[in-house]
Symmetry: C2
Subunit: 211 residues, 2 copies
């Protein structure tokens, strides 16, 4: 179990801007980060997520195992880093992209679009996400991305339904989008379309004025 700050990816981070850490990364560190990520990506592409062992990654990257851990904290952290590119695209899209995902559309439509986008992301890389979310420290929540998504939802929910417990509802809306949940539903034969409809139904309930 990683103990302290552990140091998150410094270049383009999944979550919030890192504070308090040295702004620059030593050259060799940056180089190794790249080598490790490339190696990891190659392994995932080749052998699937199951083949992503830390030893294997280190060997292929030509670094020691300790270096992999120093850079990424643990296996979940490495998985998160591999998801980083897509995650950043997603964040850009809902923070400043075109509606309905981005600003401009009405809140309910934006929430729907956002939940659908999250679903599509799980659909695109389910295995990596499962690994990223599943470790001993609730990586899903500590990963940084969750906080961003949560904050985004809180904002929109407050617009859509002032007075609601936006913080709780944001958690509740994100919960069924956990990679393991969706993976399970897909295995049960539930289609993406149906899952999205279900999310819509859930959301409509929340945002419909009952006054």
């Amino acid at each position: 179990m990683a103990s302290e700050p552990v140091e998150l990816p410094v270049n383009g981070l999944v979550g919030l801007p890192v504070v308090g850490l040295p702004p620059t990364e030593r050259a060799d560190a940056a180089r190794n980060r790249r080598k490790i990520l490339d190696a990891a990506a190659h392994i995932v592409a080749t052998a699937g997520v199951d083949g992503l062992s830390m030893e294997e990654v280190a060997q292929r990257a030509g670094v020691g195992i300790g270096t992999v851990y120093r850079r990424f904290g643990d296996r979940a952290g490495l998985a998160y880093a591999l998801l980083d590119e897509r995650e950043r695209e997603l964040q850009t899209a809902f923070l400043s992209g075109p509606p309905p995902l981005g600003p401009g559309a009405d809140p309910v439509a934006r929430i729907k679009a956002f939940l659908h986008a999250l679903h599509d992301r799980v659909e695109a890389q389910p295995d990596l996400l499962v690994v990223a979310e599943m470790n001993s420290t609730h990586a899903r929540y500590t990963g940084g991305a969750y906080a961003v998504h949560h904050t985004h939802l809180v904002t929109l929910l407050n617009q859509a339904k002032p007075g609601c417990d936006a913080h709780y509802l944001a958690d509740a809306l994100l919960a069924p989008l956990a990679a393991s949940t969706i993976t399970y539903q897909r295995q049960r034969g539930m289609s993406p379309t149906r899952i999205k409809s279900g999310l819509d139904e859930l959301l409509d309930g929340i945002t419909t004025r009952t006054t």
Copy 2:
């Protein structure tokens, strides 16, 4: 990873009645099951869930490690078995106990009571539940209990709001009750009361007729 049927606890099961397996358990097997469960319970009480290593359990129970695995499949399975007693109480309560949890109350009230009960269960044994839910095979869903809870919710949801996608909504309502989710929320300072209110809010949305 456990491959096939793996054999679940035969005496009082968490989930559905087992089919196709020999109805009786050999005497020595039953004896060992008891010894293992006692040892495991003792360890959890003494050293917490973190101290629950399979080796330790086997040693304390005076059996080989292989026996522990044969009985319980994996660590998550052992954790589930430790939760079994409470789980059975819960199932009895909502299947045949007094309202509002049991039959008699209106569906929405029953759902609320059920969700609250699930929350209380997490509150009572968060660590064990986290272990039980978190392994490589999505133990939460394969454990048997989930299926029972899901079925129960589907029934009630169909009564409360005919025409809804009860199967999806049941998943969606159970998702925020995952032990890891609630643990995280509690760490963030969210009180049980607030979590329950939030669940009520979520549910009210779903079940309010918009027609």
